[in-house]
């Protein structure tokens, strides 16, 4: 790479590579259904030309000719680089890196995966007579290698392993609508997966929705499950994204730092390196080390996610935060959100609430969230609480404005629970509109 770059007169470049080996199985009512394996590679080359403009090319051909071709392609593309805000190599790409020491688990034979998934499916099917299929199921394991190098001598490398189990049973009783819910578990390897927990959760959730009733349309106090609240925060991630601020598509502005954007009960950090984050990255796409970054403290906006380029553009002492994705235009995204809330109104409880709605999971976030407008209108699975008793809601949507929603958090209940996308307690919000299907 270095020789090729030198031969082409390229003084500044960087390269990100990801290699993966994935295997997965799927079963159907006691029989193996599909087994899949995938070997994949992906590389992205960035080249700076003599005028400091950047071009990129992506390829999955990691052979020497393939990378040479990508280098040449990126050099050609640099003629069209953005002159106004070209990125630079991250000055932190050579900073010392604290390894995460995540365990790397062995890849298990596919037959073992099948046996475990068949057993999990059998347990789910046997758990209740109304459950006759688990239409969405799978057990997958992956090995990943990431590499980042640049012409300034940076060299980052990380290997991870991960495994995922998902079980989504479908239950149906005579004369009633079919119901479905599910559970997902993530771990560093198949042997570390909480299979029993996943089976129990998928089963309990599905059964809990069998006895359903419509809900009256109206304004309710709502309790978001950790997964649901994290989904909502992720969907509005542009609120803390410095690139979105610069692009004018964020609900926040530079001047929003320090302002009260949420209830004082809410504290949110992004923590890629949290022990609960499976296969956590040690560095981002620009080679910048990942770290814990406070975003909202006591309801006040404290920091934005930054790339090298946004930190430079802000010119306020900001530095890259380890959230950048390599690209012709560098983008930013959260890594793993860590929500810590204060208790607030202690009368609100999932165990004793009445006339309140407990949202278990949100759907269709890709369609129902308008991140730049702040609005959301989302279908959900959940329960109406009455004297602490839960009754499943037949079909409904929840709608609101994220700014108002965050300001109207009235309680955070329970210890934060780890999920694949972060950690959160149950979060209570008052004044959200629920539309029930008549």
């Amino acid at each position: 790479m270095t020789e090729d770059a030198s031969r082409m007169g390229i003084a500044t470049w960087d390269l990100g590579i990801t290699c993966g080996n994935d295997t997965s199985v799927q079963v159907d009512r006691g029989e193996p259904k599909q087994r899949k394996a995938r070997q994949s590679t992906a590389a992205m080359v960035r080249v700076w030309n003599g005028e400091g403009l950047v071009g990129i090319t992506s390829t999955n051909d990691l052979s020497s000719p393939g990378l040479t071709s990508a280098l040449a392609g990126a050099q050609q593309a640099s003629a069209f680089g953005d002159a106004q805000s070209p990125p630079r190599l991250s000055p932190q790409a050579r900073d010392p890196l604290t390894p995460l020491h995540q365990p790397r688990r062995p890849t298990l034979p596919m037959q073992t995966l099948l046996e475990r998934l068949l057993d999990a499916e059998r347990q789910v099917l046997n758990s209740h007579p109304a459950i006759s299929t688990v239409p969405y199921n799978g057990l997958a394991q992956a090995r990943r290698e990431r590499l980042y190098i640049n012409s300034a001598g940076a060299l980052r490398r990380q290997s991870t392993t991960s495994a995922t189990l998902w079980l989504y049973p479908r239950a149906e009783e005579a004369g009633r609508k079919p119901r479905s819910a599910g559970a997902v578990r993530l771990a560093t390897g198949v042997d570390a997966l909480d299979l029993e927990g996943c089976i129990a959760e998928a089963t309990e959730r599905t059964i809990s929705h069998l006895d359903y009733a419509p809900i009256d349309t109206g304004v309710y106090t709502v309790c978001f499950s950790p997964e649901a609240f994290l989904d909502l925060l992720w969907a509005f991630g542009s609120m803390v994204n410095a690139q979105a601020v610069l692009d004018g598509v964020s609900l926040s502005q530079r001047s929003s730092l320090g302002t009260q954007v949420a209830s004082p009960l809410l504290t949110v950090a992004d923590d890629a390196r949290h022990p609960g984050h499976v296969a956590a990255p040690e560095f981002d796409g620009e080679g910048t080390p990942t770290r814990r970054l406070p975003l909202i403290e006591g309801g006040r906006l404290r920091h934005f996610l930054h790339s090298e380029g946004t930190a430079r553009a802000f010119a306020d002492g900001s530095v890259a935060t380890g959230h950048a994705n390599l690209g012709a235009k560098v983008t930013l995204s959260p890594q793993w959100l860590d929500v810590e809330g204060q208790r607030g109104d202690s009368s609100l409880s999932c165990e004793s609430g009445s006339g309140v709605v407990l949202i278990d999971s949100l759907s269709a976030l890709h369609a129902g969230v308008k991140a730049s407008q702040g609005s959301f209108s989302l279908p959900f699975d959940g329960w109406l609480l009455s004297g602490g008793e839960r009754r499943s809601i037949e079909a409904a949507t929840v709608a609101g404005d994220i700014r108002s929603t965050l300001q109207h958090i009235v309680a955070c209940e329970g210890n934060p629970q780890c999920t694949p996308s972060g950690r959160s307690p149950h979060v209570w919000v008052e004044g959200l509109t629920i539309t029930g299907e008549a």
């Binding site: 995938r38 992506s58 002159a83 596919m110 209108s377």
Partner: protein
């Protein structure tokens, strides 16, 4: 062990996929059949993609992507094993085959398979060889996108952000299977997009317009930039101050073009054999039965010239068909692929599709639309006392129980049979389930129109067209505030 013919020289990403692959592919297929497979299928592809983004007056991203790879699928009984690789060398492909065989408990051996070999190559790619060369260059596309953002600036008010995008996806595929299938195709999909954010105090509106076309290298040159910009800016001006829709149950009229997403989500997915296999469609045993209002005839096809979901062959090498799904409310057919036919008995319809070599094909929609009816759009509106006119639809999804949802980007109240363009509303989400809603589609207008879109499902994201005339749904739940 037989040696592979593919090596040397190993094919590279730059090599054309054609007859030269026959010996190597036949060797792989013969090895798979000798190992005891019922059927072996190999999908090879190489692609060349480009995306360009303009923001305000600047080109902020030019992103070329080059790739290649192969997916090998082995069937035995009702099971299949699938292995994918980026490496197109002979040894790597043989390793992938062995991996797929091993998933089914099969081992490569030295015995002869008696397999008859591939049929003559059906080359759907001939005549398309120049497409990539005549596609817009980066400077051409950049110029067009700057025109688009400038048009937004000219026609819009309170604009805070303007974006225009162009994406080109060129793909060469070769499909070989032990049933003799040997077919090649070249595909070209291009999309354009306009997005703007208007803001005035606390009022905000995001408006998007997207278009797409298959197999037309000159698509970008024909993009009606000015018209699209005017339309987007007009919508932004209207929606910026629109009220949020009041939640409830209403009769609705869904506009043509992208309104077809309701049928795509509410019913189309449930007519794919992947759903029959899973037991997650309520229509599995309803062939020949009435599942929709008699006003509804629905079709899925892959034949319409330049439509986004059209193709000369599907990703299993089969020529596409015109498949009537529902005729006058009666269920006629399911969309089926190779695995679907094997597992459910529904004949293949040329609907086996995948995003790329990393996914096994699955039964997927192509160009899916509700057929036109006898009415004028005004008659639909005129039949409603108090309801909603949904002019622009957003995305949607369907869950494992058939519960669907989709977002409405731009809507207006209908009062006393009149469309109230002075009463725009935003923030609506329509929810329901197919069994309930299909019988409520009671009127279809005569103005069928299609729109390009993307559909994500088990075999990745594929290009599709949705479409319909204006339709009336007698009652549906509208989520709002």
């Amino acid at each position: 062990m037989p040696s592979l013919c593919l090596d040397p020289p190993a094919p590279s990403r730059l090599d054309r996929l054609d007859q030269r692959w026959r010996p190597g592919l036949e060797e792989l297929l013969a090895a798979g059949m000798a190992a005891g497979a019922d059927l072996v299928e190999i999908f090879v592809e190489r692609n060349d993609q480009l995306s360009v983004l303009a923001e305000q007056e600047r080109i902020t991203s030019v992103s070329p992507v080059m790739g290649c790879g192969a997916g090998i699928r082995v069937f035995k009984g009702n099971c299949d094993g699938f292995a994918a690789t980026n490496d197109l060398s002979g040894p790597a492909l043989m390793t992938a085959l062995e991996q797929a065989l091993g998933m089914l408990g099969l081992c490569r051996n030295t015995s002869a398979s008696g397999w008859q070999g591939l049929a003559a190559l059906r080359d759907y790619g001939s005549g398309k060889e120049q497409w990539l060369k005549v596609c817009p260059t980066v400077p051409d596309s950049a110029e067009r996108l700057r025109e688009a953002t400038a048009a937004l600036e000219r026609h819009g008010r309170h604009l805070q952000a303007r974006q225009a995008s162009y994406a080109r996806d060129w793909q060469e595929v070769l499909v070989a299977a032990s049933d003799g299938t040997f077919a090649r195709d070249l595909r070209l999909h291009q999309t354009t997009g306009l997005t703007l954010l208007a803001a005035d105090g606390d009022h905000r509106a995001t408006i998007s317009r997207r278009d797409g076309r298959a197999d037309d290298p000159h698509f970008l040159a024909g993009w009606p930039v000015e018209d699209v910009a005017v339309s987007a800016c007009r919508s932004a001006g209207t929606m910026l101050y629109a009220d949020v829709v009041k939640a409830g149950d209403y009769p609705v009229v869904l506009a043509n073009r992208f309104g077809g997403v309701i049928f795509h989500e509410a019913c189309g997915h449930l007519l794919e054999t992947t759903q029959v296999e899973r037991g997650s469609t309520p229509f599995a045993d309803n062939i020949g039965q009435t599942i929709a209002h008699p006003a509804v005839t629905a079709i899925d096809e892959g034949l319409s010239s330049n439509s986004f979901g059209s193709m000369a062959m599907d990703d299993e090498g089969m020529a596409p068909q015109r498949t009537v799904l529902i005729q006058d409310g009666v269920l006629q057919r399911f969309l089926s692929d190779r695995a679907g036919e094997m597992r459910t008995g529904h004949p293949r319809t040329g609907s086996g599709r995948r995003q790329n070599h990393g996914f096994p094909a699955a039964s997927r929609m192509r160009n899916t639309f509700i057929a036109p009816g006898p009415h004028k759009p005004e008659e639909l509106v005129g039949s409603i006392d108090h309801g909603l006119y949904c002019k622009q639809m957003g995305g949607g999804s369907v869950g494992p129980t058939g519960q669907f949802n989709f977002a409405v980007e731009e809507a207006y109240w209908i009062e006393n049979g009149c469309l109230r363009e002075d009463k725009p509303v935003k923030g609506a989400t329509l929810i329901g389930d197919a069994v309930t809603v299909l019988p409520r589609i009671s009127m279809c207008a005569d103005d069928n129109a299609l729109a390009a879109g993307f559909c994500g499902s088990v075999s990745g994201s594929v290009y599709v067209t949705v479409g319909q005339p204006h339709i009336k749904v007698d009652r549906i739940t509208v989520g709002g505030r």
